[in-house]
């Protein structure tokens, strides 16, 4: 075995990137959970608000926030999945 391949094996053994990836994934999972909770609360608020007045400014703002949060959740899930795939490989 050449020194280079020996070192490559050593590098893989000590590779901290997996640990980092796992931490990233955990962080994203936590974020997704908290955003999902926020999304559910927003949904309730929107329903209540549109029930009072369909085209109110408050309802409009809530809808926009709902849309934004949905988009962030979607991106976070996509990223988390990507990390899992890389980790599996």
């Amino acid at each position: 075995m050449s020194i280079k391949s020996l070192l490559e094996q050593l590098d893989d053994f000590f590779d901290l990137s997996r640990k980092k990836q796992r931490k990233k994934r955990e962080k994203l999972d936590k974020l997704i959970v908290s955003l999902e909770e926020k999304k559910a609360t927003l949904k309730r608020k929107i329903r209540r608000e549109t029930h009072k007045e369909k085209n109110s400014k408050k309802a409009y703002n809530l809808c926009k926030e709902f849309k934004a949060i949905s988009r962030i959740i979607k991106k976070a899930k996509k990223r988390a999945d990507l990390i899992s795939k890389v980790d599996c490989c």
Binding site: I3, L7, L10, K38, K64, A68, I72, A76
Partner: protein, 587 residues
């Protein structure tokens, strides 16, 4: 002319001395190997810690005792006070830490350097460390082949340690054989005259070698071989401490004001410590004698006693000077004050800051914020508004409608005189730092570069919008003025929200959500604005030429809003994972 002759002459005499005496050759080569070892250790730790050392120094220095402790620990581990000084000056320049903390670290670092004396007197002299040097050198070289910086750094640390051990072994061997020929102990001097002579010798040796650790290693090995008298060795150790101040001052000459201030702090500390140590040298010697049995130091183990003396007088110095750290810092702040930099000059980017990736990144971020603030001024004035109004409590529609007076500001001139230089300096320093940064930090710098470009492009966009805005104000077309007010409202809404984000302590997820909501609304409003223009054309309220200008300016407005949100995501969403969930840069 004289200088041209003297330097080679001194070098030739020195070369003759080295070649003619075998013992001198061994001792001096030991010193040289020791210094090479220190150099390898310093560079190795820079790579090996991969930012850990820097974040340790940054996070745990919020109080003076902590700063002293961190200074001690980091120097003891790294075995290089100069590496710690470089990091601290860099952090201070990037405002990552304050001057009080930096001075605390420097004080602690002085105690940290005393561990070298312990290492040399305990391991260096009691075991055959040259035997351990060889495997260290072998594995150090193997690790150098690694593709990871951490392993390369570890390799350098091992090589450094190996050379240090080897250097000590050579010095020891040199002094042992020298003893058989000449006995330097015969030149021992007693009393305070001896103290002053040997103190000066210690200081001169440190100034020449540029390392107090190396001087201490020489003193200890010479003392262990019986070549110098114990009390003279104590004086030499005090001299080594005093000598480092010259090294620090020489090093700070090319440094910025922070480096110079720290060099003054270092000088004051070491001079006070040296004075106290000289005055109390005999009492301190007695204290060492008293403490030695409790630390299992043998009666005749003068090398270890010297290490204890070195530690005691440095700790004493810290205890004496630390209560006066506040007045000292106040005094330091009055030194090396420079005139306020002119407009268009960088505030945070200096050569010192660029030495360490963490401080370089922070300085680049702060400078980009500085660029943003400068551009904000141009942006706001181009819209005939003032910053104080934008960031006030006033309702935005009312504020915009009442600001119809043209503010005569030449955006081209503002760009050339106040923005362009900052932008080009950001680019210059970014390219410089990217050369030594790892991939992750490189990406961050790249992102900051693109952010700076976005900021500059916003200024160019507003320049286009300004022309039409002022034209339609001049010809008093109310429909057009009304539409332009809508554009201004859009930009002001985003500017105000970004300012709120800056002023409030939101977490990254909250900021990201807020920015995404703003983005949603901006896209919605652009659509509505375009629909409104269509209606104005249909109703013959504006002619097609006016419509063309307006549609173009809606495009500029939207481009500014999008860029503002991107800029805010990079500059104020600190959590990297969350920032990545925002817009990706499409270039």
């Amino acid at each position: 002319m004289l200088k041209q002759i003297i330097s080679p002459l001194i070098f030739l005499i020195f070369a003759w001395f080295v070649v003619s005496s075998d013992d001198a050759k061994t001792i001096i080569s030991g010193i040289a190997i020791f210094l090479i070892g220190m150099h390898y250790m310093e560079n190795g730790f820079k790579l090996f810690s991969g930012g850990t050392l820097e974040s340790f120094l940054e996070k745990f220095t919020n109080t003076t005792p902590k700063a002293i402790g961190v200074g001690f620990l980091s120097t003891a581990v790294v075995q290089s006070s100069s590496l710690i000084s470089v990091i601290i000056i860099s952090f201070l320049s990037a405002e990552l830490i304050g001057l009080t903390q930096a001075v605390g670290v420097i004080f602690g670092s002085n105690i940290g350097t005393t561990t070298t004396a312990w290492l040399v007197s305990s391991f260096g002299l009691k075991i055959k460390i040259a035997q351990y040097a060889m495997p260290m050198l072998i594995f150090g070289v193997i690790f150098q082949f690694s593709r990871h910086n951490s392993y390369k750094g570890l390799g350098s640390v091992l090589i450094g340690l190996g050379f240090i051990f080897l250097g000590i072994a050579y010095m020891k061997e040199g002094f042992d054989t020298l003893k058989e020929g000449i006995n330097l102990a015969e030149y021992a001097m007693t009393g305070y005259s001896g103290v002053l002579v040997y103190l000066s010798l210690g200081a001169i040796a440190t100034v020449i070698i540029q390392s107090s650790s190396a001087t201490m290693a020489i003193i200890i090995t010479a003392l262990a071989s019986g070549q110098i008298d114990y009390i003279n060795a104590l004086s030499l150790a005090i001299g080594a401490n005093v000598g480092t101040t010259v090294t620090a001052i020489l090093g700070s000459l090319a440094s910025n004001r922070n480096g110079k201030r720290l060099a003054v702090a270092h000088f004051i500390f070491n001079i006070i410590t040296g004075l106290v140590a000289v005055l109390l040298i005999y009492q301190l010697r007695d204290l060492v004698e008293f403490l030695a049995p409790y630390l299992s130091i043998a009666q005749n183990d003068y090398a270890m006693k010297l290490a204890l003396f070195h530690t005691i007088f440095n700790v004493l110095g810290v205890l004496l000077v630390t209560p006066f750290i506040r007045p000292l810092v106040n005094y330091l702040q009055t030194l090396f004050c420079v005139k306020e930099k002119g407009r268009g000059q960088v505030k945070y980017l200096t050569e010192e800051v660029m030495q360490i990736p963490a401080s370089a990144l922070e300085a680049l971020r702060k400078e980009t914020i500085h660029l943003y603030d400068k551009s904000l001024e141009a942006l706001v004035h181009a819209m005939n508004l003032h910053r104080s109004e934008i960031f006030s409590e006033r309702e935005i529609p009312e504020l915009v409608e009442l600001s119809n007076e043209t503010i005569h500001v030449d955006i081209n001139r503002v760009y050339q005189e106040e923005i362009k230089n900052i932008y080009s300096e950001i680019l210059r320093y970014s390219s410089q730092t990217q050369a030594y940064m790892d991939e992750e930090d490189n990406n961050k710098v790249y992102e900051l570069k693109l952010t700076a470009r976005n900021i500059v492009e916003m200024v160019k966009d507003i320049r286009e919008l300004q022309k039409n805005l002022n034209y339609f104000i001049k010809i008093k077309n109310n429909y057009m003025i009304n539409e332009y007010n809508k554009l201004r409202r859009e930009i002001v809404t985003i500017l105000r929200s970004i300012q709120q984000i800056r002023d409030t302590d939101f977490d990254s997820a909250e900021i990201m959500t807020e920015l995404e909501v703003l983005k949603e609304k901006a896209a919605d409003n652009e659509r509505k604005l375009n629909q409104g223009i269509d209606k104005l054309i249909r109703d013959n309220k504006i002619d097609p030429k006016m419509a063309a200008s307006l549609i173009n300016d809606v495009g500029f407005m939207h481009s500014i809003c999008k860029k503002l949100l991107k800029v805010a995501a990079v500059l104020w969403v600190k959590d990297k994972e969350i920032a990545e969930l925002g817009d990706e840069y499409e270039y």
